[in-house]
Symmetry: C2
Subunit: 290 residues, 2 copies
């Protein structure tokens, strides 16, 4: 892999760049909206060159490029693909790092047309509550899961290239359909984020918020850590995975209604059984994860 172009050099794109540069000599060009942050990325040695989003400059940047990584907020994916399309050689593999996949694949198919087979959807599962290139680190992906979502049309060599790059970053690569991916992450990632945002907003909006926060302890700290996540990013993820997320919210509200019923009925045995199922599953998961 000689030449890589990354759209959006923040925590995700920047850490991808640092991991690949650490492994082998790779020329990386960053492209983005903010020239200041690209300047910062260059200064930090994350990228070797950068370009703005003017057509002539994108054309120049994409010459002889082996791989294009789209690591910008998912809402920008369509416009980025449109800016790439006219300058895309048939030898270039395109991948992305978006947290949702069905919407990205639909968008790539529409914009890339007959070159859709060059697009490999991807999602690195790595904490992103800190954003920006200054938070980038070469070992962000070490031991983390990366999900690739190839379709029947996707070029198998392209999938192999992207999988190999992620393994070079130290990640565990798995493949599944975009629909399966979006269902899984609605449950284990997107829903918890919305629940944490909702709790903090609920408490922060009260007249006695300051007093409430002053007695919040370590349980609250860990439960709400993800409520510190990037609002724009989570707006995009929520809208992109709307359908799966709404059904997760319905399932969760049913679970809460059952819990309220047990509490209203003062059903101690029922409450203990629910708490016991949860704590047993949580502790087994944590043990198994070590």
């Amino acid at each position: 892999m000689k030449k890589i172009v990354i759209f959006g050099v923040g925590l995700i794109g920047g850490s991808f760049a640092l991991a690949l540069k650490k492994a082998s000599a790779t020329h990386i060009t960053g492209i983005g909206r903010s020239q200041e942050s690209l300047q910062e990325a260059l200064k930090l040695g994350v990228i070797d060159a950068f370009s703005d989003t003017q057509e002539a400059n994108i054309h120049a940047a994409l010459q002889d490029t082996d791989l294009i990584m789209i690591a910008a907020p998912v809402a920008q994916t369509a416009s980025i693909l449109q800016s790439i399309k006219p300058h895309l050689s048939s030898n270039t593999v395109i991948t992305d790092a978006g947290s949702t996949k069905s919407d990205v694949l639909a968008c790539a198919k529409e914009v890339l047309g007959e070159q859709f087979n060059q697009f490999v959807g991807g999602h690195p599962i790595a904490g992103a509550e800190k954003s920006g290139v200054t938070a980038a680190m070469s070992d962000l992906y070490a031991g983390k899961n990366i999900v690739l979502t190839p379709t029947a049309e996707t070029n198998k060599d392209g999938v192999a290239v992207v999988a190999e790059l992620w393994r070079t970053c130290g990640a565990n690569v798995s493949e599944m359909s975009a629909e399966t991916h979006d269902g899984i992450f609605a449950a284990v990632s997107h829903l918890p984020h919305l629940l944490a945002f909702a709790l903090v907003d609920d408490i922060a909006s009260r007249p006695n918020a300051a007093q409430l926060f002053s007695f919040a302890a370590s349980g609250f700290r860990d439960f709400t850590r993800i409520a510190g996540s990037h609002p724009e990013m989570w707006r995009d993820i929520s809208l992109a995975n709307k359908t799966a997320l709404l059904s997760e919210l319905d399932a969760y509200q049913n679970e809460l209604s059952q819990l309220k019923q047990l509490l209203t009925n003062e059903d101690g045995a029922g409450l203990q059984a629910l708490f016991n199922r949860a704590s047993t599953a949580r502790n087994a998961w944590a043990k198994n994860r070590q």
Copy 2:
């Protein structure tokens, strides 16, 4: 403080004992249901002696006792107070470490009658997802909040004695009414615990639970840490603070309904505004806490 009796020598009672012994020579007697765990506490140097709950033995243990700490699960508070009452000298201060206070004060008033003025309700705000005396540590309370909930009838000297002991453990002591306490902790502690239990139970009950758990990452890990908490303890807390907790669950479900409405309407600006309020408040709280 020469002689202390602790009912329930687990994480909370055991850590209280270790902190006081570290500060000065104090004779501590443990009383509880499980003689094995009291034997363990003796072996670990957490207590100097122990007794079972037979009346004659409790009578002997309470002789010349300066302070009685009740650190057993809250559901046992009434029976423990009943076992203490016949042997309680007027010089002995009684306190507790229950996570809910209105129910404990009502119970103490009923059982202790004219000696209710010797009872000082207390709640140490310290992580308790690990339970048992083997998890006890002398610095568990260093820098932590301790809330005392004296009433108009409570003996002021008794409050001063309990406050001083907690300061000896390194804690920050504050006083408020039991009702205020229960409202605050329903919001910042009891509700988050129920929400975390509910999420894990929701996911664990599905046919594809194993696959879902296999892709859960650090956000899920922190959000669900408190779902590993002690089921019996949380059953008791939930039932004891039922009224405040049910109104918290209602407020939270309203918040979730608003969130669902924003998502259904694809109201990106509304979603971003909610996420932004939450992340700003969460990050300000975390910064302020350091």
